[in-house]
């Protein structure tokens, strides 16, 4: 494996990211870019200041510092798994994006390793942002007194967790290639990662309880796989832990390079599932999404997640797995792009297109939910767990369809998806938090949310009009 092609590929992804994401859609407007940057910086500063104020009062003794860092470390492991699952979902759709590299003089190993490097980069940026406020507060309060604990609890633990998950993914990919079931790789891989998350979530819950008991009773009896590095550090010191960490990182990176991976070589994107005799525009929209391999993979993932929840005695929440499918709404615009381009030649109406997009997604989600709903009648005991998932999914589709229109993930571009989720989610998060503490009452909150959803619909339709305009302009430029 050569270093230069990998370096060039990573450079290519960065250039692609800069041009197609950071200078695309609504981000073309410098004002929007500045506003988003300012909003992001404000959010980071507020979180950092709040955590610092809280820590400066709470972190007085060494026991409390260690308790907080050990608890936070288990959270970081969970976040690492969440980020990895999220990236695997996004990068499971990169086959089209990576098609541009097929003609390059590179081996598939070099290509896969460059994707791994990029995934790693994004994961670490996210984990850095998540732990930034804690690290900064610790350094400001205790200077470098706990720097070794910080390194072990945050850096070593998150890197080890991330690399372990990557090795597991590579092994799954190798097994799928060996058994000639490459098309099932993404779904098997995601199911395993979701299963690992479920196991670790349970472990983390009991761990926090045990750590709290230890702190109150002034004992040190807690043992957990989640605290492996911390306990090794406590017993053998920082340098031996570092040696172990470096050794493990080298072995796992070696395994990632050595294990053959064909997971991004898929050619067919569709499966001829369900044929319709009388085709209407709505049916065409539904089938364009439904026949896509990624949608089918997500549907399988929904059912697998439901089975995992039943196995963990959490059957009360099986309907919530539908939320995974509402995420697919981000691709609805792209899946129906061919239909839209045909309609551009006839009588294209943006609001009708939006209605088709929305209803087609909801039809698929509701149809997929029927088996879960039927099982729910036996397993779910609280009515609220029937209502909330449907409300979340229905309104979630509105958000994700908007994200897909604002940043269409052309050629399965994974970066558009990441950016669109960040751009759409940050304001929604802030609106949610502020409505909670403003305590305006149920009806006022409902009225405000309806207003924001109406705005989302308006923005989506406006986005469709703008995209049609840019399509016509591009055609015009091409012809002349």
């Amino acid at each position: 494996m050569r270093v230069y092609p990998i370096k060039h590929l990573v450079h290519l992804y960065s250039t692609f990211f800069m041009r197609k994401v950071l200078n695309f859609g609504i981000l073309k407007n410098p004002l929007i870019r500045i506003l988003l940057l300012v909003a992001f910086l404000i959010l980071m500063t507020v979180i950092a200041v709040s955590v610092f104020i809280f820590f400066s009062e709470a972190l007085q003794t060494e026991e409390i510092v260690l308790f907080l860092l050990n608890t936070y470390s288990s959270t970081i492991i969970l976040w690492t798994i969440v980020v990895t699952i999220f990236l695997k979902v996004i990068f499971s759709k990169v086959d089209g994006f990576l098609r541009m590299t097929i003609n390059f003089p590179i081996s598939s190993k070099e290509r896969n390793f460059s994707v791994f490097l990029y995934e790693t980069l994004i994961s670490f940026v996210v984990i850095f942002l998540l732990s930034f406020s804690v690290v900064l507060s610790m350094v400001l309060i205790h200077q470098f007194a706990f720097i070794d604990v910080l390194m072990v609890n945050l850096l070593y633990v998150s890197t080890f967790a991330y690399l372990s998950l990557q090795v597991i993914s590579k092994l799954v990919s190798f097994a799928c290639t060996f058994f000639k079931i490459e098309k099932l790789f993404h779904i098997i891989n995601l199911s395993i990662l979701v299963f690992i998350f479920a196991v670790f979530l349970r472990k983390a819950q009991t761990l926090v309880q045990e750590l709290a008991n230890d702190l109150i009773q002034e004992t040190n009896t807690t043992e957990s796989i989640l605290l492996f590095f911390q306990q090794f550090h406590e017993n053998y010191g920082f340098w031996l832990t570092t040696l172990l960490y470096v050794g493990l990182v080298v072995i796992m990176t070696g395994l990632i390079i050595v294990i053959p991976d064909q997971s991004h070589m898929s050619n067919s994107k569709h499966l001829l599932a369900f044929q319709a005799k009388n085709v209407s525009v709505m049916k065409a929209y539904v089938l364009s999404t439904f026949r896509n391999m990624n949608t089918l993979n997500t549907i399988a993932l929904v059912y697998l997640a439901a089975i995992i929840l039943i196995l963990f005695n959490l059957s009360e929440y099986i309907l919530y797995t539908m939320i995974l499918l509402s995420f697919n709404g981000i691709y609805s615009f792209i899946h129906s792009q061919n239909l839209r381009q045909m309609m551009y030649k006839f009588d294209y109406v943006a609001w009708k297109d939006y209605l088709y997009l929305l209803v087609s997604q909801l039809i698929i989600i509701y149809l997929v939910s029927i088996p879960l709903l039927l099982s729910g009648f036996i397993m779910i005991t609280t009515v609220i767990h029937f209502i909330i998932p449907y409300v979340v999914v229905t309104f979630g589709v509105l958000i994700f369809v908007l994200a897909g229109i604002l940043f269409p993930p052309y050629n399965d571009n994974p970066f558009s998806v990441i950016t669109s989720i960040a751009v759409v989610m940050i304001p929604i998060l802030v609106i949610g938090i502020s409505l909670t503490f403003m305590n305006l009452g149920l009806w006022m909150n409902i009225a405000i949310l309806i207003f924001f959803y109406l705005v989302m619909i308006l923005f989506s339709i406006q986005g469709l009009i703008n995209l049609r305009r840019s399509f016509r302009n591009e055609k015009f430029v091409d012809i002349h």
């Binding site: 004002l31 404000i42 959010l43 709040s50 955590v51 104020i53 809280f54 304001p427 802030v430 305006l440």
Partner: protein, 95 residues
């Protein structure tokens, strides 16, 4: 129609920016050390009240104490965003 869109965009941007400011103010107030009881932030627009009900329990109340500073902020930001957007439109039309 285009002007209407500018107004709607400015209004949405103003509301979201105000909510950002309110969230920041509330979080800072919540995490800062202060005496128990009634506390307000952002020109008295948001309040947080904590009263001990027994030795182990604490009752918390929070919400909007005065809506006027919030509406004034939205109005100021609305005008500011309209001004910036029109300036930007004029600049892009000239180029």
């Amino acid at each position: 129609m285009k002007n209407l869109l500018t107004y709607i965009n400015s209004l949405i941007a103003a509301i979201i920016t105000t909510l950002f400011i309110l969230t920041a103010s509330f979080l800072i107030m919540l995490f800062s050390s202060g005496e128990e009881g009634y506390r307000t932030t952002y020109f008295g627009s948001l309040f947080f009240n904590s009263t001990p009900t027994s030795e182990d329990t604490l009752e918390m109340q929070f919400g909007v104490a005065n809506g006027i500073p919030i509406f004034i902020t939205i109005a100021i930001l609305f005008v500011l965003f309209i001004f910036i957007l029109s300036l930007f439109k004029r600049k892009s039309a000239a180029s």
